[in-house]
């Protein structure tokens, strides 16, 4: 190396005042020349150097944000909550693809069996998703989550909300295939009620059992109502939505009373 960086160039380089060509060749020279690197190190304020280094290390360590986290960030959701949402078991593409396929099938079947097929299936998917995000295989860190100051109740709420939003987002496409497109969102409130009932029952039984009970109750109740009524969709329209609202309020109150139960792991412990 026949030349070294002069004091003037170094000062301008440090202050970011060098032209692009000279700055590039200075960069290239610094990579090759340890003497000039030492000079550059001395030229920069140590605090600034430390801060830049910290930022680089942090950037390298920062786990790659998933597409969902980025999207939530844009909606104003804080990064740590975004991460909790992204970790819900249902946010895996395999689960979402299955849900989309099932909803598409239900929407397709609704042409011959009626819109009711789609409206019954969507809450069932939510219930299954919630049970998955509560069970140890979907939430393997249960003990650590329970013993954290965040608490399991908050995680359960974050995950269940994620499930509902994920199924709703997945349902948009299939809903466009429905004949009665105005009825496409009528499953939402029942899905919230079914979710709360599943969560409530999961405080006394395994999440999978709770989900199975709720699913059977849901299908049986809708079938019985639809068969006994003369107009279709009676279990979703008008007064039925009022009943679901009352049910949601009641279940929220019951959940509040039993919130302490979420502070313990769902599965039975080993000794």
């Amino acid at each position: 190396m026949s030349w070294h960086i002069t004091h003037e160039i170094m000062t301008e380089y440090r202050d970011g005042r060098l032209g692009a060509v000279t700055a590039d060749s200075t960069d290239a020279h610094l990579i090759e020349c340890p003497d000039c690197r030492t000079l550059a190190t001395r030229a920069v304020d140590p605090l600034r150097r430390e801060r830049i280094w910290d930022e680089i290390v942090d950037e390298v360590d920062q786990p790659a944000a998933r597409w969902l986290e980025k999207g939530l960030g844009r909606l104003g959701v804080t990064a740590h909550v975004g991460r909790l949402v992204a970790l819900a078991a249902v946010v895996r593409s395999s689960w979402l693809a299955t849900a989309a396929a099932v909803l598409a099938l239900a929407a397709f079947a609704s042409h011959s069996l009626g819109t009711i097929t789609f409206l019954v299936v969507a809450p069932l998917l939510v219930v299954i998703g919630v049970a998955m995000s509560l069970s140890p295989s979907g939430a393997p860190l249960e003990e650590l989550e329970v013993s954290s100051p965040t608490g399991r109740l908050r995680l359960v709420v974050v995950r269940s909300s994620t499930v509902i939003v994920a199924v709703a987002a997945t349902a948009v496409g299939p809903a466009l295939m429905l004949d009665e497109i105005h009825a496409a969102a009528l499953w939402l409130l029942p899905a919230v009620a079914c979710t709360l009932l599943t969560l409530f029952l999961s405080t006394v039984s395994k999440p999978v059992t709770a989900a199975a009970v709720v699913s059977v109750l849901w299908v049986a109740a809708v079938t019985a109502l639809e068969m006994s009524a003369s107009t279709p969709l009676v279990s979703f329209q008008g007064p039925a939505q009022m009943v679901f609202s009352v049910l949601v309020c009641g279940l929220l109150a019951a959940m509040t009373l039993r919130r302490d139960r979420f502070d313990q792991p769902a599965r039975k412990a080993a000794r």
Binding site: S147, S148, D263, K268, A269
Partner: protein, 283 residues
């Protein structure tokens, strides 16, 4: 801050009495919980980790009552817990895993949280593995990863369930060095079946068998329990509680004196075998 205080703590799972009237208190320093499998060590640590409420008895942790939701949260902010089987999201990288637990511990400032994550990974020598997936780690590395998350944010109460199982001898030595030199000197309770761990790092040892405290005192005091009850001979004897052939070919007996045997100095192992054997809980 104050340490931990348990009075008459009992816990039953179905027909199994996991804890049976445990009285235990501890201040800053390392207390070892020694006992056979199924003795109730894990249940005790889960009660201390506020994961499991006892059926009976009173518990006070760091001056708070875990039965009260608000006080329980105060305890959890100062708690580090390494469960026996923490469970992992296998898709996580090492860094992501510890970062996730740090989020749960409410370290919400990203920069500070990441500094903390780097620090604990450095403590357990996993810095070089930070970007590896958890599913690609060896058993020993997973144990160290579980330990790393427990050390986040310098807890005042550190609960370690079998922290040295799966570690090789060098890693075990490193663990002892690490846990005995924690700068804020927390209340540490560690469960183990390794009497060497107890002798090496614990200021105090609590022997648990069948859900009860069988011994509580200094490691040397535990050794004293077996003074006058350990013998060697060159012939087997059916009357002793336990006997085995040691490396030099002689038979070592713990319990009643066999005929023609010589009394020897006991080890912590001997005392532990005597206590857990006589309680009927040896395995």
């Amino acid at each position: 801050m104050s340490g931990i205080r348990l009075t008459g703590v009992s816990k039953r799972y179905g027909r199994v009495q996991a804890l049976d009237g445990i009285d235990l208190s501890a201040e800053r320093g390392i207390t070892g919980l020694l006992g056979p499998n199924g003795a109730g060590k894990t249940t005790l640590l889960r009660v201390l980790a506020t994961v499991q409420a006892p059926d009976a008895g009173s518990v006070e942790l760091l001056g708070h009552d875990p039965a009260d939701a608000e006080q329980r949260r105060s305890i959890r902010r100062r708690l580090g817990y390494m469960p026996q089987e923490p469970g992992f999201y296998d898709n996580f990288t090492v860094f992501e895993f510890v970062d996730y637990i740090a989020i749960l511990k409410q370290l919400t400032d990203r920069r500070k949280r990441h500094d903390e994550v780097r620090e604990v990974l450095g403590l357990v020598e996993l810095t070089a593995e930070a970007r590896r997936k958890v599913r690609d780690l060896s058993g020993g590395m997973r144990r160290r990863l579980a330990l790393a998350q427990a050390l986040l944010d310098r807890p005042d109460l550190l609960l370690l369930d079998e922290p040295t199982s799966g570690l090789d001898p060098a890693q075990r030595l490193r663990f002892r060095e690490l846990v005995s030199q924690l700068p804020n000197r927390p209340v540490v309770l560690l469960s183990t079946h390794q009497t060497e761990d107890i002798a090496a790092v614990c200021e105090r040892v609590v022997v648990i068998a069948a859900g009860r405290v069988q011994f509580d005192g200094a490691p040397d005091a535990l050794r004293q329990v077996a003074v006058g009850r350990v013998w060697i001979s060159d012939r087997p004897n059916a009357q002793t509680l336990l006997s085995w052939r040691s490396g030099d070919g002689t038979l070592r007996h713990v319990g009643e004196p066999p005929s023609g045997a010589d009394l020897v100095e006991p080890t912590i192992d001997d005392a532990y075998l005597l206590l857990s054997g006589s309680s009927g809980g040896a395995s």
